[in-house]
Symmetry: C2
Amino acid sequence: MSLLLPSDQDLQRSLGIHRVLEPRGSLPQPAWKLDNTPVAQAGETLVDVRALHIDSASFTQIAGECQRDERRMREHIRDIVAQRGKMHNPVTGSGGVLIGTVLELDERFAAMHGLAIGDTIVSLTSLSWLPLYLESIETIHIERSEVEVRGKAIFFRSNPLAKLPPDLPQPVVVAALDVAGAPSRVYELAQPGRRVTVIGAGGTAGLLTLCALRKRLGTDGEIVAVEYSEKALQDIAALGIADVIVQGDATLPLELVARVRAACAGSDYLADLVINVVNVPQSEFASILLAKPDGRVLFFSMATSFTVAALGAEGMARQVEMHIGNGYMPDCGDVALQLLRDVPALLAIFNRRFPERPPA
Amino acid sequence: MSLLLPSDQDLQRSLGIHRVLEPRGSLPQPAWKLDNTPVAQAGETLVDVRALHIDSASFTQIAGECQRDERRMREHIRDIVAQRGKMHNPVTGSGGVLIGTVLELDERFAAMHGLAIGDTIVSLTSLSWLPLYLESIETIHIERSEVEVRGKAIFFRSNPLAKLPPDLPQPVVVAALDVAGAPSRVYELAQPGRRVTVIGAGGTAGLLTLCALRKRLGTDGEIVAVEYSEKALQDIAALGIADVIVQGDATLPLELVARVRAACAGSDYLADLVINVVNVPQSEFASILLAKPDGRVLFFSMATSFTVAALGAEGMARQVEMHIGNGYMPDCGDVALQLLRDVPALLAIFNRRFPERPPA
């Protein structure tokens, strides 16, 4: 006797369980393999895919393993999608987002998102959730973690997406939406008058987060920006938003603590809120050590280890509240896109980092 | 030129960096290997170890790999400690706690914890943090994840511990302190009038959490207890604290949702707060699906995957705030121990599950 009611079957279908090949009954994201047949079934929406914007942790890992050789990276990506039916990096466990055009549209999905056939959309679901069928891989833009492809993807009803806005350049929008959960959530959690430290502040998520913080804190409160790359540090400086800028390596926690303290002129340097948007592993301890004992740490990096964070805080006797960064927020990226409109220096950096493709 | 100030060197020493062999400069917990020489250096405290209470995720994994064969488990544990200089399961990444007697005592550590030589203590730091030297492994108590040993451990100043209270049986105290962070944090986070669901409610952490919730919620609010094991379900019933008890498997999220909804009589079944204290992997989705979209999930299970949780919430378009359960709370286990004193039915279950050793 099945316990499932009709509403459960709806839930199953809206989540995409029917596309899971291995292991059966699993949800699509943790599943090893999805059925990526590029034909829309009931409740599904079919998208013509133009580009993949691969998650930074995943792209860094692939580029490293392939020694930044474009041919090898292309093969590597093709192999992952062929093996798993989705662009789900088995090493990092992460995905990214895709950009494409609606080909076939489920009615309820259309109503939920105000969609029409032909609309250009960006997925707000991780690629690790979406059945993806690749016809070909065209160009890899290493500098912006983007892969131009020809292919098809399936969206289930539960998968969030955003329509491309007409007033912002497409590569900029895709890059911003990929990490839009960070600024949106930070905007809700930060409180005026507090010190907030952003680790990895010069990355895409980091710069958006700095702007969201300033908007939320006003002139009240202190923003400390930590970044490793010299080039990204220049962008943070150009943004003119951080109160304190620190060059440092988050994987060397004690050295970083020393640098942050020095930059804060020896005064109290611990933050009420630490936001980790670093794209390399082993930055958990630095994040915890830079937070007040009763502060909060938001881990948005997909390279975060649950056990390292949990046992680290325990071992260091820090009460700190730690959050698993959740990329979904009901604004579906509006906060991030509005920041690009409101902060010209931010848009300038994004335009430089994510240039428009030359017209085909 | 070193950036480190004297206070940084203090911090390094109090964290135990000087004992890390591999990789150098790392903190002890994430390190692969520690120097476990059983001689106290400056700032260190030496403990004569009597027993290891291995983390449930780790113990389950070891017991499974060794097919519950005691001789094989003994060798397996000996090998881990020989390889790593600490009882840090390389598969689960988790540790557990130890019980022992203070042999040599750092002055500042003594003052912090009101300690004297000869005191019997329980570590509140994960075993994955503490240099451990094993002379011998005596008996393995599979039913309570405990290993009687002869050995020595080093505590650094930053490592929390608790003195054994005189009024409660030792095995019961050790078991409770191992998971004491869960009831303590839940007690702070739960709010009267809300629905709270505990997944894995029949385990050690689960039962304590149920009691902490009832104490916090009073008669206001609803407690839903989810548990897989029939035997543990009987304990939940005997406790008489949960408003709704559901038998179900958290690794089958959709079936579990159906069961919880059925048990809640079709009414609203989503929780404001979901607490995951399950000791097997792949229960992230069930936890997210049982929380209200704007609810919270606390993951206390060491088997939690950061990426599965983050991408799962995103893929299912759930805004839910997710916490990495942090085992450290400044009460150092007092909340958990007080529950054992206040709730006779809880103490009875613990006494049965963790019986006193026969006198030597």
